[in-house]
Each structure stands twice: as structure tokens, then as C-alpha cells.
């Protein structure tokens, strides 16, 4: 049986009395690029924090590749690669050292890690920068290094939380194209959180999140309809405001 890369059912979360997510359900099919679209404060990062166990979900369920993150956290986390919204590489260490550290955190032996580091750095076109300190890389290169790090343990699902924030147009396009390529080459699925509509293609799976609720989900072209994605998004979120 083929399970979804990510299945979230009836997920709710509150910060004190403030609801952050209300009855969120969504799936990321295997091998898909799924965009999670929402304005700042929509609940995207909260959702990611729940999937990655930085917060604990108390209602609803989250399954990564069929493993419940609360009941089977080790299996679920082993199948998850994460690119956080804020940069999470150690700027004082080299690119390869950062990747080696991450490989160790997934229990990968030294030899396996060394081979895999070379492989993923080639995929993100950073082989020549392996020995350079992260602080010496450009913003776009750092993002690519983070994607390489997220891939090191061969996850089933990549979570990318506004991975293009702070990048120039060219770097943004490169990071997006790289993620789409990896779906084919690595057989990974991606949940791409963004508030930039240009990053969503007509064939992508799309989930629109607003004020902690899923407003629409399905193929982007079908959701956009004849009015186009921008108009539809404004109309949906305006109605929900």
C-alpha cells in the first residue's frame, strides 16, 4: 500500500487562548510538490513546528510516510527533511562540517556520510564550496546548503518553510527549480510553504491556509479558475478576513 508522504487530520493548536490552527486536514501525496500558501500569520510555521515536533500536537493526527509523529516519533522524524524559515546552519563551520553534523544526528556512519555529502552537494551545485565556512556563502548558496542538509538522510518528505525569503529573484528561482528537480531525482515529496503566488505552478498541489484554517485544497489550476490565482486568493482570504 502506498501511503501519503504527509497526512494531517483534524489538527488544532492554540497559544494560550489564541487559536493558531483550527481543524486543519491536508495530504502531501508521494512524489508531489505541494504548495502551502498563506499570508504571514496564517499558521504555516506553527504547522511546520507541529510536524517537526518542536511543538506537540494535542488534537488531531500527523503522519509522515505512515508514521504518527506522536506515537512513532523516531520513524517519522527519520523520514523528514526540514528547511526552516530562519537560517539554521552553523556559520562558523564549513558546509561539509554542517552536513556531517546533521548526518551524525541521523545516526549515519562516517563513511556513508562522506559519500552522501559529496552526492547531495553535487545535486545542489556546491561541491566546490564544501570546505568553505557557511558565513562565506551567499544567501542563495546557504539556502542550497540547507536543502542539501535536509536531504542527507534520504527523507521521504521535505518541509520548506518560506525557503526563498530574503533571496534575490535569481536565487529564488534557483532554489525553487532545485526543489522541483529533487522531487524527480531523489524521489522525495515537498511541502513548500510560501506567501509568494509566483512560486506556485498550475500543476502543483495547493493548500490555502488562512487564520489557521484550510480554505481550499486541490490542484492549483483548478483552484485558480478563470479569475487566476491572485484574484482567487485575495477573494478567498478577503472573504475570510
Amino acid at each position: 500500500m502506498t501511503t501519503d508522504a504527509l497526512r494531517i487530520t483534524g489538527l488544532s493548536h492554540r497559544f494560550g487562548s489564541v487559536p493558531a490552527l483550527s481543524d486543519v486536514s491536508l495530504t502531501v501525496p508521494r512524489g508531489s510538490f505541494t504548495a502551502l500558501l498563506g499570508v504571514n500569520g496564517a499558521g504555516k510555521t506553527t504547522l511546520f513546528s507541529l510536524v517537526t515536533r518542536l511543538y506537540s500536537n494535542v488534537s488531531g493526527s500527523i503522519e509522515v510516510a505512515g508514521y504518527d509523529v506522536r506515537r512513532q516519533p523516531a520513524q517519522a522524524m527519520a523520514r523528514l527533511g526540514v528547511v526552516f524559515q530562519s537560517r539554521a546552519l552553523d556559520a562558523d563551520l564549513s558546509v561539509a562540517q554542517n552536513l556531517a553534523y546533521h548526518a551524525a544526528l541521523h545516526g549515519m556512519g562516517r563513511r556513508a556520510a562522506r559519500d552522501r555529502i559529496a552526492q547531495v552537494l553535487a545535486q545542489v551545485d556546491l561541491e566546490s564550496r564544501a570546505g568553505d565556512r557557511v558565513s562565506a556563502l551567499s544567501g542563495g548558496q546557504q539556502r542550497r546548503a540547507e536543502i542539501a542538509r535536509a536531504l542527507i538522510h534520504r527523507p521521504d518528505l521535505l518541509l520548506l518553510d518560506e525557503a526563498t525569503v530574503g533571496l534575490d529573484v535569481k536565487s529564488r528561482a534557483e532554489v525553487l527549480a532545485l526543489t522541483r528537480r529533487l522531487i524527480a531525482s531523489e524521489g522525495v515529496s515537498a511541502l513548500w510553504a510560501t506567501h509568494i503566488l509566483d512560486e506556485i505552478g498550475p500543476d502543483d498541489a495547493l493548500v490555502i491556509l488562512h487564520k489557521g484554517r484550510v480554505l481550499q485544497s486541490g490542484q492549483a489550476a483548478a483552484i485558480a479558475g478563470p479569475a487566476g490565482l491572485t484574484q482567487t486568493f485575495l477573494s478567498l482570504t478577503g472573504a475570510a478576513a
Binding site: N40, A42, L105, G107, G109
Partner: protein, 273 residues
């Protein structure tokens, strides 16, 4: 139990990775190593030398005879290295949280108690290197415990280092920003160090102020100092061992609780997006 899916080698690999990163950071921050050494050496060479003439000490266990004040104060200074190292680890945790490196650690598939424990142990290894370097320099200052005392003090250094590191870990969960670290200096490090048996024996404290004596006797750092002091002379102080082990369990348990996604720190944090 889901944690069993990892073979023993994978657990070791994860621990080695965490220890390796801590060591790399330590090697890159040479100033930190020097500062950790200079601080107790200044106390030994200047403060203790000056006080030698003023402070007379009766025979106090584990010493079999009268000792110079420098000899008395040395175990306290070793513990001071570990105290500062523990707080440095706390600072490093807050820094990691602010830079996002902490997330990398916490999204590992290994259980959180293991990840925090590995980070704690890595910090202790660093503090023990500093402690032995200090003891080696002190040897040239004629502070020469029995040779086997250097081996006997090792497990005491591990335990006291773990306890003080766990305290730092626990505090790091409560410190919201790096700027708040000055408060840790004022409200934790200095009171713990001065209100302990590091600089004066408890009986002498009692002579000047019974209240101060009681405060010192309730201070876990006092027991870390005494554990090291007795071990350095090949003796076991069971009371100190019990208090240090108990405080280790308490502080580490508190830290694991605070870093638990369902409870403590992470449950209270809210981020945009």
C-alpha cells in the same frame, strides 16, 4: 518502544557528532579556553597568595595536616571552571536557539533526553580538559595532591560537571534572549561561587554567620567542591556524592521537561508564519 529501531552504533554516532561539533566550536574559540584558565589562575596566583597570610586554616578533612590556603582553594577553583563552563554551555544553547541551530538538533529522530544529554556530556568533556590543564599548572605552584588523586578526581569531575552543566541546560530553557545572560552571572554564578565552601570551609562561615553557613550548606555547588576536594585526595564524600547526583537528576529532568514539545519552553513559544 520506537527508540529501539536504532542500532547501538547509530546512538554512538549521534553522540560523537554532537561532541565533535562542541569540540570544533571550542577549538575555534581559543579565547574561551584561555578565559576559562585565566580566571582560576588569577584567583590562585593573586587572591589566594594574598589571603594566605590572613586566613589560617585548621586541619579540615580530607587534609591530614595544615595546608596552605592555595591548596585549600584549588578544588573550589576547579569547580569554578566547571561552573563557568556549565554557564557557557547555557549561553551556547541560547545562542543556538537564536541562530536556529537548536532546531537542527531537536528535529533529529533520536529522543530529546538523549540529544540534550549528549550535548551536556560534550560540554563536560571540554570542562574536564580545562580542569586538568589548570591542575597541571597548579602543580608548578606547589599544589601537589597525591598522584593517584589525579585519577580519582576524574569521576568526581564527570559528576560535578554533569550537575553544573545540567543546571546551565535548565537555565538556558528559561533565558529568552542572549542579553539576559548578564542576569545569570549576577544571580547564579557569583552567589553560587561565593556562598559555598570554595573559598572558606563551612565551619569558618559558621563562626562569622550561622545564616551564611546555612545558605552555603544548602548550595549544591558546595557539594560539587567537596566531592572534588575529597576525590583529589583519594577519599569519597558520600554526602557530597548524593547531593550532586540528586541535583543532577533534578536539573537534567527539569531541562528535559522544559525542552519537551508538549510542556515547557517550546509549548509557550509562538512564531510568525
Amino acid at each position: 518502544m520506537t527508540e529501539r529501531r536504532f542500532p547501538a552504533r547509530a546512538w554512538f554516532t549521534a553522540f560523537r557528532g554532537i561532541a565533535w561539533r562542541e569540540t570544533l566550536r571550542f577549538v575555534q574559540q581559543r579565547g574561551r579556553f584561555l578565559a576559562a584558565l585565566v580566571r582560576p589562575l588569577v584567583w590562585l596566583f593573586i587572591f589566594a597568595a594574598g589571603f594566605r597570610a590572613v586566613l589560617g586554616l585548621s586541619i579540615t578533612p580530607p587534609y591530614q595536616t595544615y595546608v596552605l590556603y592555595e591548596v585549600y582553594v584549588t578544588p573550589g577553583l576547579v569547580a569554578m571552571i566547571q561552573l563557568f563552563n556549565g554557564m557557557q554551555s547555557s549561553l551556547s544553547m541560547v545562542h543556538d536557539r537564536e541562530t536556529g541551530a537548536m532546531r537542527t538538533l531537536l528535529v533529529s529522530p533520536f529522543p530529546r533526553w538523549f540529544l540534550l544529554g549528549s550535548k551536556l556530556m560534550a560540554g563536560v568533556i571540554v570542562s574536564i580538559i580545562q580542569a586538568y590543564t589548570f591542575l597541571a599548572i597548579a602543580w608548578f605552584w606547589d599544589i601537589r595532591p597525591p598522584a593517584w588523586g589525579y585519577a580519582a578526581v576524574f569521576p568526581a569531575l564527570v559528576l560535578s560537571g554533569l550537575m553544573l552543566g545540567a543546571l546551565g541546560l535548565f537555565l538556558s530553557s528559561a533565558i529568552r534572549q542572549l542579553e539576559n545572560f548578564a542576569g545569570v552571572m549576577n544571580f547564579v554564578i557569583f552567589p553560587m561561587f561565593f556562598a559555598s565552601s570554595a573559598l572558606y570551609p563551612l565551619w569558618r562561615m559558621n563562626e562569622s554567620s550561622p545564616l551564611l553557613h546555612d545558605i552555603c550548606a544548602a548550595n549544591p555547588f558546595t557539594y560539587a567542591v567537596e566531592l572534588i576536594r575529597f576525590a583529589l585526595y583519594g577519599e569519597m564524600n558520600w554526602l557530597a556524592f548524593g547531593v550532586v547526583a540528586g541535583c543532577l537528576a533534578l536539573f537534567f529532568g527539569g531541562a528535559v521537561f522544559m525542552y519537551d514539545p508538549a510542556k515547557g519552553l517550546w509549548a509557550r513559544r509562538k512564531e510568525r508564519g
